[in-house]
């Protein structure tokens, strides 16, 4: 906005003795400000048609398809053959994904949920046109992590979990961990997690932080490794800060 204001003053000085130019420049600047204010708006949409398949290429009926690269995404449900038609997709390059929690494919917008074998396509959407034959391949199915969080007396405690994947690194040391995923959970809750090694930390107000693996949490002993479909119950005993 400051740059725009400076530009406005500069061009007004240039144009102050040229009435026609003043009108043209003023109109252009108004248009420019309007465009800046609507950078997050939608200028046009198109549609995407395709199929959701599993790691072996078998269609996944009923998977919910969404645009994973936009804050507010249209979504639709795949049909009985895994086919989908997603309408109202903003124009430009967009990344697609899909999930079906009840079948072991969790909502995967966050990087933490990236799994081996997945192929989440990026497509170019053109206004008013249909982009066809897009295949969304969901990779390995999730594992099941059940946390049971209590205090020293066995009383259930709600907590905040941080899941960290050491294999995901963002080359921006000024930003928080790329592979980290944070989520509040009830004292007993089951979460779908990717079948890849990750670390787990629990935080609750008034309690000391808890790390899977204890003092060795930064070593390989602090890594949780689960296969697709495998379940693990993790008892988390929190200790109050005195």
């Amino acid at each position: 906005m400051d740059q725009g204001h400076a530009m406005y003053k500069f061009w007004m000085l240039v144009a102050q003795n040229i009435p026609m130019l003043r009108i043209v420049i003023a109109a252009a600047l108004v248009s420019s400000v309007g465009a800046a204010q609507t950078t997050t708006g939608t200028t046009g949409t198109g549609s995407v048609q395709g199929t959701v398949v599993d790691i072996g290429g078998v269609p996944i009926p009923g998977a919910r398809v969404f645009v994973r690269t936009l804050r507010n995404s249209p979504s639709t449900e795949a049909d009985n053959q895994g086919g989908f038609l997603l309408k109202g997709v903003p124009v430009g390059e967009v990344g697609l994904s899909a999930y079906k929690t009840e079948s072991g494919y969790p909502y995967n917008i966050f990087a933490f949920f990236a799994v081996p074998g997945q192929d989440l396509p990026e497509v170019r959407v053109v206004e008013g046109q249909l982009t066809q034959n897009v295949v969304i391949r969901l990779g390995a199915k999730a594992a099941f992590l059940r946390v049971e969080i209590t205090d020293e007396n066995g009383t259930p405690v709600d907590a905040h979990l941080t899941f960290s994947r050491p294999d995901l690194v963002l080359a921006r040391p000024d930003l928080r961990g790329y592979g980290d995923y944070r989520r509040a959970v009830a004292a007993k809750e089951t979460i779908l997690v990717p079948p890849v090694p990750f670390r787990l930390t629990a935080l609750a107000e008034g309690f000391q932080p808890w790390y899977f693996g204890g003092d060795a949490w930064q070593t390989s002993k602090g890594l949780i490794r689960l296969n697709s479909g495998q379940s693990l119950i993790v008892p988390i005993h929190l200790h109050r800060i005195h």
């Binding site: 800046a36 994973r68 966050f110 905040h160 000024d174 790329y178 980290d180 989520r183």
Partner: protein, 274 residues
């Protein structure tokens, strides 16, 4: 054995009258709706044939509701929710049954059900989570906090049907200090239910509508502050559901004064989350 027909019916003596139905009921009873919603299927009346013990749909007429401010019903049995509360829906069927003298007689018999209409009152947290989204190797992700919210009634019960909700912002166009971020655009009036269960939706908070941007284009700590107000809209009403001050930065998002996530079941109202 009693001869109920007394000569004018064709079936002779028996334990039932032809066309006599027991246990008559409206199929969707109670019918639970949200304000502005309608029954998915028209109401129907079913009963058990007293002669052969089979269940049958009965011809029904005269559909009506007890309180038109709560719900109305058309002649085909389609119910529309008008306002919060509880009322009856009813229809008449013609039942061939035994009269006081033991004759089989046709009687108009009312069948009554209950319609409960719920108004969204506030929101409850289903999942509150945050992190970086998946992007291609050539791009950089924008930090994202997503809250999956549930519209609930004043008793904290989930609304029985999807409702229309919208978001408003104060200030309307907050200044975003992130380059190319632009002002956030509030969610327009739309029906819940496109994520999770009935009455649920996603509230996504980031400094840019695009979750994957050019590498190095967004500095740490830039962003904006805004108060989001979620309210009912369209046929679902106008009442505020959640007033939520946020501080949205490129590396953290604070919601209602909390930079960590709200626990599942947290109630969020016009006074914020607690």
């Amino acid at each position: 054995m009693i001869d109920k027909t007394y000569g004018y019916a064709v079936h002779g003596c028996g334990l039932c009258c032809p066309g006599e139905y027991d246990d008559r009921n409206i199929v969707q009873d109670p019918l639970n709706l949200s304000v502005g919603g309608s029954s998915t299927n028209p109401q129907t009346v079913w009963g058990i044939d007293a002669c052969n013990n089979t269940k049958k749909q009965l011809p029904a007429s005269g559909w009506n509701t007890g309180d038109h401010n709560v719900a109305t019903v058309d002649s085909s049995g389609n119910v529309t929710a008008k306002g919060a509360g509880s009322t009856t829906d009813s229809a008449n069927i013609t039942n061939h049954t035994t009269d006081d003298r033991g004759y089989c007689a046709y009687l108009s018999a009312p069948t009554i059900g209950t319609v409960n209409v719920t108004q969204p009152d506030h929101l409850a947290v289903v999942i509150d989570n945050e992190g970086y989204p998946q992007c291609s190797q050539t791009q950089e992700p924008i930090y994202l906090r997503q809250m999956q919210m549930q519209a609930v009634d004043s008793n904290k019960n989930p609304v029985p049907q999807d409702v229309y909700i919208q978001e408003a912002q104060s200030p309307p166009n907050p200044t975003n200090s992130c380059p190319s971020g632009g002002s956030p655009v509030p969610s327009s009036c739309a029906l819940t239910g496109n994520v999770g269960g009935v009455g649920q939706f996603l509230d996504s908070m980031t400094v840019n509508k695009n979750l994957c941007v050019a590498k190095g284009s967004v500095p740490a700590g830039c962003g904006f502050s805004v108060t989001s107000t979620w309210s009912a809209c369209s046929s679902s009403g106008t009442n505020n559901l959640w007033v939520s001050p946020r501080v949205t930065h490129s590396d953290s998002v604070t919601v209602d004064g909390k930079s960590s996530q709200w626990i599942k079941g947290t109630q969020c109202t016009s006074s914020g989350c607690s």
